[in-house]
C-alpha cells in the first residue's frame, strides 16, 4: 500500500465515523427541510475532494462541520427565492460549537430506540413508521386511519417525548451497569 492509499483509508474511516453527527448538524441548521440529506451528501463529496486539505491530528469533526456549513450556505443561496426560515449566525455558530463537542451516541441511542419501540402499541409504531419513512403525507394517513391530522400531531409529539425519555433511561441504566 502506498502512503497515499493508507492516508485515504484513514480519511475514509474518519469520514465514516462522522456521518451521523454530520447529518445531525446539517439537519439542525435546516430543520424540517427534506433536502438536508442531499446537502449532507454534497458535503461528503466536498470533504472527499478537499481531503488533502485536512491536517491529520486536528479535529476532523470540526473541519467536516465547517465544510458542511459552507454547503448549507450554498444550498440556501440556491434557494434564495424560497426564503426559508433560518437561525441567526450567532445561534448557528453556537450549534456548530456545541454539536462538534457533543459525544456521538447515535449508535447506542439507536439500539435503545429499538428496545423502546417494542413497548409501544402497534398502532403507535405504525404511525411512527409511516411518519419517518416518508411514504405519503400525514393527511393521507389520517384519512386512512380515520383520525384528524391535528390529533396525529399531538400523538406524534407524545410518542417522541415518551421515546426520548425511554432512550435516556436505558442509556443511564447501561452506564450504571457498565
Amino acid at each position: 500500500m502506498t502512503p497515499d492509499e493508507s492516508v485515504d483509508g484513514q480519511f475514509v474511516a474518519q469520514l465514516t465515523a462522522v456521518q451521523v453527527p454530520l447529518l445531525a448538524y446539517v439537519r439542525s441548521l435546516l430543520p424540517g427541510d427534506p433536502a438536508a440529506r442531499d446537502v449532507a451528501q454534497q458535503a461528503n463529496a466536498t470533504l472527499w475532494i478537499k481531503r488533502a486539505d485536512f491536517v491529520p491530528g486536528t479535529n476532523f469533526k470540526a473541519w467536516a462541520f465547517s465544510v458542511a456549513r459552507y454547503e448549507v450556505l450554498n444550498y440556501r443561496k440556491q434557494q434564495a427565492r424560497d426564503a426559508r426560515l433560518m437561525f441567526s449566525p450567532e445561534l448557528e455558530q453556537t450549534i456548530a460549537t456545541e454539536l462538534a463537542e457533543a459525544p456521538d451516541e447515535f449508535q447506542a441511542k439507536h439500539e435503545a430506540l429499538r428496545a423502546c419501540m417494542e413497548h409501544l402499541r402497534t398502532k403507535d409504531r405504525d404511525l411512527l413508521l409511516h411518519r419517518y419513512s416518508q411514504a405519503g403525507t400525514l393527511a393521507e394517513y389520517a384519512a386512512k386511519a380515520g383520525r384528524s391530522v391535528g390529533g396525529l400531531k399531538v400523538t406524534l409529539h407524545r410518542l417522541r417525548t415518551v421515546l426520548l425519555s425511554c432512550i435516556q433511561q436505558r442509556l443511564r441504566s447501561q452506564e450504571a451497569s457498565a
Binding site: 497515499d4 492509499e5 485515504d8 483509508g9 484513514q10 475514509v12 474511516a13 465514516t16 456521518q19 447529518l23 445531525a24 439537519r27 439542525s28 430543520p31 424540517g32 427541510d33 427534506p34 451528501q41 461528503n44 463529496a45 466536498t46 472527499w48 475532494i49 478537499k50 486539505d53 473541519w63 465547517s66 465544510v67 456549513r69 459552507y70 454547503e71 450556505l73 443561496k77 426560515l85 437561525f87 449566525p89 450567532e90 445561534l91 455558530q93 450549534i95 456545541e98 454539536l99 457533543a102 447515535f106 449508535q107 441511542k109 439507536h110 430506540l113 429499538r114 419501540m117 417494542e118 409504531r125 405504525d126 411512527l128 413508521l129 419517518y132 409529539h157 417522541r160 421515546l163 426520548l164
Partner: protein
C-alpha cells in the same frame, strides 16, 4: 414559554410546519437557553434515528418486531477495522455504510475482508450513485440543461451528457473522461454501466477490478487505462495501458493487453485490432484543452481590463506583476480619473502565482508586516472596493483588506472577521458617548461567506458604499452577499482616505491589543477603488470577465 410549549414548537419546526412568529420565539429561546438547545439536539437526533429505523424495518419486512441479529456488534469495532484496509475496500465499505446511514437499509453486517474485493462485497445494482464528483469539464452540456460546477456530485441514476467533455473522479480513485453524447450510470465507485457513448478510464492500482458494463459485455480492469465506446450496433474496447478481461455471458473471459482493441457487433462478430488512444479524450488532453480555454479567457480579460482603466470613476487599480514585485512598487493603472491614487509601495510581500496560475503575478501577503502602502487624495461620496484574494486562513480577529492609517472621521475600513464575515465601516464621529449607547461608526457585516472549505480558492470580494441609495452592499464572486441600509444617524457623505494599507493595519493606537495585528494571511491578485457606487451588473461583469 413552558417546556411543553417549547417541545411542541421544536416538533413543529422539525416537521416543517412552524409559523414565522413561532419560529422567532423559538429562535430567541434557543439562543439564550442551553437547556432548550439540548432539547433541540435530542429531537433532531431522534428524528434521524427514527428515519433509519423505519428504513430498516421496511427493508427487512419486519415491521412488527425489530430484529436483534446484529445488536452484538458494536459499531466501534468495525470503525477500527477500517484502518488496515486499502483505499478501495474502505471506499466500498464507506459506500455500503453510507447507504445505511443515508436512509436506506442499514445495519447489514459488514465484514472487513482485507484488501481483496470479493464477490460478496460487490455492490448491487440498486446502489445509489453519487459516488463520483466532477473534477473537470469543457463545454459540458447535460440533458437536463443544468450547469454543474467542478466539485459537484454526479447526478444519481442514469445521466446523459449531450456534448462536451467531463472528467469524473470516483471515490475509488478511478478517473473517467466522458465525451458527449454519452448515457451512463455509476453504480458504485467500482462499477459503471455505459448505455452508449465514449468513456476512458484510468484505474489506479488499488481500484483494480473496476468494471464497465455495456449492452454486449463487460470490461474488468486488471490495471491502468482503457476506453470503451458503446453504440446501439457495436461495442469497442481499447486497452491503452495494462490489461483488461473482456467478459461475455456464458463464455470464458478474453484477456487483452496494451495496444489491443476489440470490436463486437450485435450479430456477435468479434475482431481484434490495434487500439487507438487518440480516439478518446484522456485526462491529459482534457487538461490541455482546459489550459487553452483558460488562455483564451486570460486574453479576453487582459483586453477588458485594459479598457476598464480609462473609467473616470476608477481612482486606484493595482495589478501585481513580477516587475512591480522586483521594484517594490506597483503603478496605479487607473488612467481616467482626474485625481487618482499614488503608486503602491510593497512592504515585505513576496511573489506568488496569480489566479490564472502565472507565477509571480500575485502577492503573498502572509509574511508578518506585509502590506501595500497607498495614498488616495481627495474627498469622495460613494465608493466601491473590489479585490481578488486567495485566503489561506483567517488568523486574526480582523484581517485587513483595506485600512486607512489611523481611524479619523470619514475614513473607511474594509476587512474580514475571523468568523468569515466581511466588515465595512465609515467613521461617523471622533467624539461620542459610549454610556449613552453612541458609537463612532456603524459596521456593515456580511453573513459568513468564508470557511476553511474555501481555503486556497481565488475569490472576488466587493463592497459598495452607495450614498445616493443609502445602502451598503457586499458581494462575493459577483453575487450579492448582503445589503444593508445606511442608518440616518451614521450617514457619512464625505469619505476621506489619505494614507492607507491593503493587507495590514496601522501601528496600534488603540486601547486593546487585538487591534494591533491585522495581517491578512493570503494572496492578493488585484485591487480596485472607485470613487462611485458600481451597480450590481457592473460588479457581476467584473467577476465574469475576470474569473479564470
Amino acid at each position: 414559554m413552558t417546556p411543553l410549549e417549547r417541545q411542541q414548537l421544536i416538533d413543529a419546526l422539525l416537521d416543517g410546519a412552524i409559523s414565522e412568529a413561532d419560529f422567532i420565539r423559538l429562535e430567541a429561546e434557543l439562543t439564550i437557553d442551553p437547556v432548550a438547545r439540548q432539547e433541540y439536539y435530542e429531537r433532531v437526533g431522534l428524528s434521524l434515528i427514527l428515519e433509519n429505523e423505519a428504513a430498516r424495518l421496511i427493508s427487512t419486512g419486519e415491521v412488527a418486531s425489530p430484529a436483534k441479529a446484529n445488536s452484538g456488534r458494536p459499531r466501534a469495532s468495525w470503525r477500527v477495522a477500517f484502518l488496515g484496509m486499502s483505499a478501495v475496500a474502505a471506499a466500498l465499505l464507506l459506500a455500503l455504510l453510507w447507504r445505511g446511514m443515508m436512509g436506506t437499509p442499514g445495519d447489514e453486517p459488514v465484514e472487513a475482508s482485507g484488501s481483496q474485493i470479493n464477490a460478496s462485497a460487490e455492490p448491487k445494482e440498486e446502489f445509489a450513485s453519487g459516488f463520483a464528483v466532477i473534477s473537470g469539464q469543457a463545454d459540458a452540456v447535460w440533458e437536463d440543461g443544468r450547469a454543474r460546477a467542478v466539485g459537484s456530485l454526479v447526478p444519481p441514476g442514469e445521466f446523459h451528457l449531450r456534448s462536451g467533455v467531463v472528467q469524473l473522479e470516483l471515490f475509488s480513485g478511478v478517473v473517467l473522461v466522458v465525451e458527449g453524447q454519452t448515457q451512463m450510470t455509476i453504480h458504485s465507485p467500482m462499477e459503471v454501466a455505459v448505455v452508449r457513448g465514449k468513456v476512458r478510464a484510468r484505474v489506479p492500482e488499488p481500484a483494480q477490478g473496476f468494471r464497465v458494463r455495456t449492452s454486449t459485455g463487460q470490461v474488468v480492469d486488471l490495471g491502468t487505462e482503457f476506453a470503451v465506446s458503446a453504440g446501439d450496433d457495436e461495442t469497442e474496447v481499447h486497452v491503452i495501458d495494462g490489461q483488461i478481461d473482456w467478459h461475455l455471458p456464458d463464455r470464458p473471459a478474453r484477456r487483452l493487453g496494451a495496444g489491443e482493441a476489440i470490436r463486437r457487433d450485435k450479430t456477435g462478430n468479434e475482431n481484434v485490432f490495434p487500439s487507438r488512444a487518440d480516439a478518446f479524450v484522456g485526462t491529459e488532453d482534457l487538461r490541455s484543452q482546459l489550459d487553452l480555454q483558460q488562455d483564451h479567457r486570460l486574453q479576453q480579460w487582459t483586453r477588458r481590463s485594459e479598457a476598464s482603466r480609462h473609467d473616470p470613476r476608477l481612482v486606484a487599480y493595482y495589478q501585481m506583476s513580477s516587475k512591480g514585485l522586483d521594484d517594490r512598487l506597483l503603478s496605479n493603472l487607473a488612467s481616467g480619473a482626474g485625481e487618482k491614487a499614488s503608486s503602491g509601495a510593497i512592504v515585505a510581500g513576496s511573489p506568488a502565482a496569480d489566479r490564472w496560475g502565472r507565477a509571480g503575478s500575485a502577492m503573498n501577503l502572509s509574511p508578518a508586516g506585509s502590506r501595500i502602502r497607498v495614498s488616495v487624495p481627495g474627498e469622495h461620496r460613494s465608493i466601491s472596493l473590489i479585490c481578488w484574494v486567495r485566503i489561506n486562513s483567517l488568523d486574526r480577529w480582523y484581517n485587513s483588506l483595506f485600512l486607512t492609517d489611523g481611524h479619523e472621521q470619514g475614513e473607511p475600513h474594509w476587512q474580514i472577521m475571523d468568523d468569515g464575515r466581511l466588515f465595512f465601516s465609515v467613521k461617523k464621529r471622533d467624539v461620542f458617548d459610549r454610556e449613552k449607547g453612541e458609537k463612532d461608526k456603524h459596521i456593515y457585516y456580511s453573513p459568513v461567506f468564508w470557511t476553511s472549505a474555501l481555503s486556497g480558492q481565488w475569490l472576488m470580494l466587493a463592497t459598495v458604499y452607495d450614498i445616493d441609495a443609502r445602502r451598503v452592499t457586499h458581494y462575493l464572486n459577483g453575487e450579492v452577499l448582503s445589503e444593508e441600509s445606511i442608518p440616518e444617524e451614521y450617514l457619512v457623505e464625505i469619505v476621506r482616505i489619505g494614507s492607507a494599507s491593503s493587507g495590514n493595519g496601522d501601528q496600534p493606537k488603540w486601547d486593546a491589543p487585538h487591534f494591533a495585528v491585522r495581517n491578512f494571511n493570503g494572496n492578493l491578485d488585484e485591487f480596485r477603488l472607485y470613487s462611485a457606487a458600481l451597480t450590481g451588473d457592473e460588479i457581476r461583469s467584473l467577476y465574469t470577465d475576470g474569473k479564470p
